[in-house]
């Protein structure tokens, strides 16, 4: 049942991308081209998706737990650090170059455009590379390792040398976002 829901969610999400025009890289790039052939359609995609999700999440997250799972799996990270900003910046450059973000790229796979068939494997490789950056650390001598449960969390280990705090969140006042 849970997996039928997952499949259906993927299907509806994909149809949304296709109907909205988000699955057309030319449309995305025209949205990003303020000085040229600006196509504001994607503002409507974003606004409409956000409105539904904003209201929907508020209703749903009032519940004790989801219908088919034992708990809500919400991201617990709340720190705004260089990794978040650098990662997002890199993503934006790739998004602008290709007009693809991950959802539309996956949805475009069965349409078999040459660019898609090059983009998706490269995207998967990039994702593995970033995740592997966190795997480097446990090979250090044991005395350098952090024995905490953090070492099992790839997000925490990706750049472990850094203090887990930033200008945004002083460590004295941790919060979950």
């Amino acid at each position: 049942m849970r997996h039928a829901v997952n499949f259906l969610v993927g299907l509806i999400f994909g149809l949304g991308l296709l109907i909205s025009g988000m699955a057309n890289p030319a449309k995305v790039q025209n949205f990003l081209d303020l000085a040229g052939s600006f196509d504001p359609s994607l503002i409507f995609v974003m606004a409409s998706a956000l409105a539904v999700t904003f209201v929907g999440y508020r209703l749903v997250l009032r519940r004790e737990r989801p219908v088919l799972a034992e708990r809500f799996y919400l991201p617990s990270a709340s720190i705004i650090d260089g990794r978040l900003i650098l990662g997002a910046a890199m993503f934006g450059v790739g998004w602008g170059l290709s007009g693809f973000c991950p959802g539309p790229a996956i949805v475009s796979l069965p349409l078999l455009a040459k660019g898609t068939l090059i983009f998706v494997p490269a995207m998967l490789a990039g994702s593995v590379l970033a995740a592997c950056a966190c795997r480097e650390r446990p090979r250090r001598p044991a005395r350098w390792r952090k024995p905490s449960s953090e070492s099992r969390n790839p997000r925490a280990v990706l750049f472990p040398g850094r203090p887990r705090q930033s200008w945004y969140n002083p460590p004295a006042n941790p919060r979950c976002d």
Partner: protein
């Protein structure tokens, strides 16, 4: 560059469907509909939970254009660059960037902002800014 038509109605409808899918996933399975994270759960080092669930979502995404074409009887209109080197570099940047930054347009841009997560607001502003800058440079400075 390909000129595209302004489609406020279709885009709002499609956006609403994306929202419905995100709310459904949270209400039923308790998970965030961030596609980069979902795809990441299928890849080494397999740190994320529930790879089978992630695979089902990806299968649904892949099935969607087939259903779309069967239902409308028309092919999906898209213009994808066929410059191999450019697409490879872009793919690497998108994959690395979303994995390091913890989300993409769906995870940060829709689900994260809907939760008013400061991380997601910062990430979305950042990738929008570099996206605008990249297309601006590519089309108006370098002249693509």
């Amino acid at each position: 560059m390909t000129v595209t038509e302004f489609t406020p109605f279709a885009s709002s409808l499609g956006g609403a469907l994306i929202g419905v899918a995100a709310v459904m996933l949270m209400a039923l399975n308790g998970r965030i509909a961030g596609i980069s994270g979902i795809v990441g759960r299928l890849l080494p080092p397999y740190a994320g939970a529930d790879p089978v669930g992630a695979a089902c979502i990806v299968l649904g995404l892949i099935a969607s254009p087939l259903l779309y074409q069967a239902a409308t009887g028309a092919p999906v209109v898209q213009t994808v660059s066929d410059q191999g080197g450019l697409m490879a570099v872009a793919g690497l940047l998108v994959g690395f960037g979303t994995a390091a930054g913890g989300g993409c347009t769906s995870g940060h841009g829709v689900c994260g902002i809907a939760r008013l997560s400061p991380r997601s607001v910062v990430a979305t502003v950042t990738f929008m800014a570099t996206g605008f800058a990249t297309v601006g440079l590519m089309r108006h400075v370098i002249g693509g």
